[in-house]
Symmetry: C2
Amino acid sequence: MTATSAQGVTAPAGFEAAGVAVGLKSTGEPDVAVVVNRGPLAVGAAVFTSNRAKANPILWSQQAIADGVVEAIVLNSGGANCFTGSFGFQTTHQTAEKAAELLGISPGDVLVCSTGLIGTGDETFRAKVLTGTEDAISQLSADGGESAARAIMTTDTVPKTSTHTGDGWTIGAMAKGAGMLAPGLATMLVVLTTDAVLDAAEADAHLRAATRVSFDRLDSDGCMSTNDQVTLLVSGASGITPDPAAFGAALTEVCLDLAAQLQRDAEGASHDITIRVVGAVSEADAVEVGRSVARNNLFKTAIFGNDPNWGRVLAAIGTTQASFDPYAVDVSFNGVRLCSAGAPDRPREEVDLTPRATDVLIDLQAGDASATILTNDLTHDYVHENSAYSS
Amino acid sequence: MTATSAQGVTAPAGFEAAGVAVGLKSTGEPDVAVVVNRGPLAVGAAVFTSNRAKANPILWSQQAIADGVVEAIVLNSGGANCFTGSFGFQTTHQTAEKAAELLGISPGDVLVCSTGLIGTGDETFRAKVLTGTEDAISQLSADGGESAARAIMTTDTVPKTSTHTGDGWTIGAMAKGAGMLAPGLATMLVVLTTDAVLDAAEADAHLRAATRVSFDRLDSDGCMSTNDQVTLLVSGASGITPDPAAFGAALTEVCLDLAAQLQRDAEGASHDITIRVVGAVSEADAVEVGRSVARNNLFKTAIFGNDPNWGRVLAAIGTTQASFDPYAVDVSFNGVRLCSAGAPDRPREEVDLTPRATDVLIDLQAGDASATILTNDLTHDYVHENSAYSS
């Protein structure tokens, strides 16, 4: 059973969290979060943006996660600490050292995540992050999940958490991200926690399997962030070793729940578009076709205009290398097949695109594989939010 | 010397053209154009969209151009005749046959181009295209270049023509395209004419060389059309065999002139952005890097907001496979270097992005190759034009 819950990362046993405000955000909202794994296990796994332009916290966390041991994670909004030179890397390093000193652990077992404007990371930024780390650690509590979820918000309008209760074990989670949602993750910071008993290899395998079909298939605006990180922390405090299939399914369900929350809160969006590609020769083909549509600005603006413009779907999928005959494809909007076998089918007037939930079904008529991509429309509010404010 | 000229395709000797209105456009504006090559040569070359979802006129013209002989080209706006089934292909075939019959030539020497809404191509469309073909042929004239250029406009706000006077020979041209401008061409219909003496292989080689560095590097909104076609018609009427280098340079110049006109008239754009990538290991790397920026919606909205957001440039180029170190890259906006070697350089306040012409210089610091990509910003007007109207 997956449920949105204010508890979030502190829902499973063995975790404490806190979120505090130190002025990184001009609004005075909370901007530094810490999540601590009190064990008995100190297992961690993480996946990172595939963008080659990686922020300093990504460079740090990639090293820190190598041994599969994580005891704490520090996250800040209000500055990405990306392209801030060696000073910026030292800031991340000092953040891990500060947390380690206060928690009595090793700096190499502390992950760091940042989100905000690229190029932000001067001495003031450093001082505030260090102060925030100290403040948050002083306020750690076993019901601090909600305050942590609030502290990682940027243009998010709501905090995003999820929990799943398994057979004696629990998964908790928090996420942020409202823009730059893209493939291979996207300024998306996610922390998943569990009190199930897993070793580092199991945690890594479960995390990769779950993100591959959830966050990796959320492609709101095609723009990949420099700071994405999805982290799984394992306390083992339940003492229960879960059935692997059940745990895997539960973790995937939590990730899909968070992905849907991210989609619903995407910057300026007026439609949540589910692009289902079926009849593909391979899953990779289905993903490529779905992504090509999700990234097509003409398709995205048409949906904003409640126009079931199937021609733009076909023009988008025609740019892919996937195996199919463009003249054999069926395209349906909200259950109405508008194009079949290279010609118009039902009249587009039969489609009602006024609901926010939009379903686009593309049948490639070439095989048995399928994939689903989640995206959003391209709206005036998206242009406004991303042109009026630096982020 | 290249000049924008109302003469366009009829500037060189040996060509006649006309544009007429037959009601394909609801506005009553001209919508069918014919250009005829009166010889003595009947040489043609063409390049087509690389979109696998190709419109019927593309399927027809690809066959017709195979022998390098073209005597006429018929173009219509007000309907793309794409994904209109076998009926739509027959419409294109009948169009070529109608023109051939009236001109006393072979249908296989008539190219056809269409532009407008995908899925449009019913019996009414067919009747109007055939009537328009007949009307235009009855009005052919040696100064019909301007009326032809007007008849191929869709959301273009101005007709687009260009001429170049060489050493005894002339190149003329017309183009349409204001949206869907993209790589490998884009609902871009272009007809180039010349009275220079060229054989089919020379015409083809010159055309490919010129389009590769002009229309192929115009990437206004990343959306590739189903109907793009750039055609070169050679009459040889000047009797002059041009110096190959001079002719190639002139043809490239004309194509660049038209590409710039297309960029200036791109749907809803408020900035014409020139992305210059230097210091690349290869030209292909430079093109990949430039395109990744040109297609990044966060970059494009930032420019609309007059925000020199260099972080979004680095986040975009970090998604490429090109050879360079993301932490060694320099990025300049309108001559001000904002990022150098992975850290901020000059303050962004020094950049004035209010002029329409915007220059982004990316120095990869990895080699000696370079490329320039032309693009536009992402604006409210772009969203409005592409959401409020089907196209």
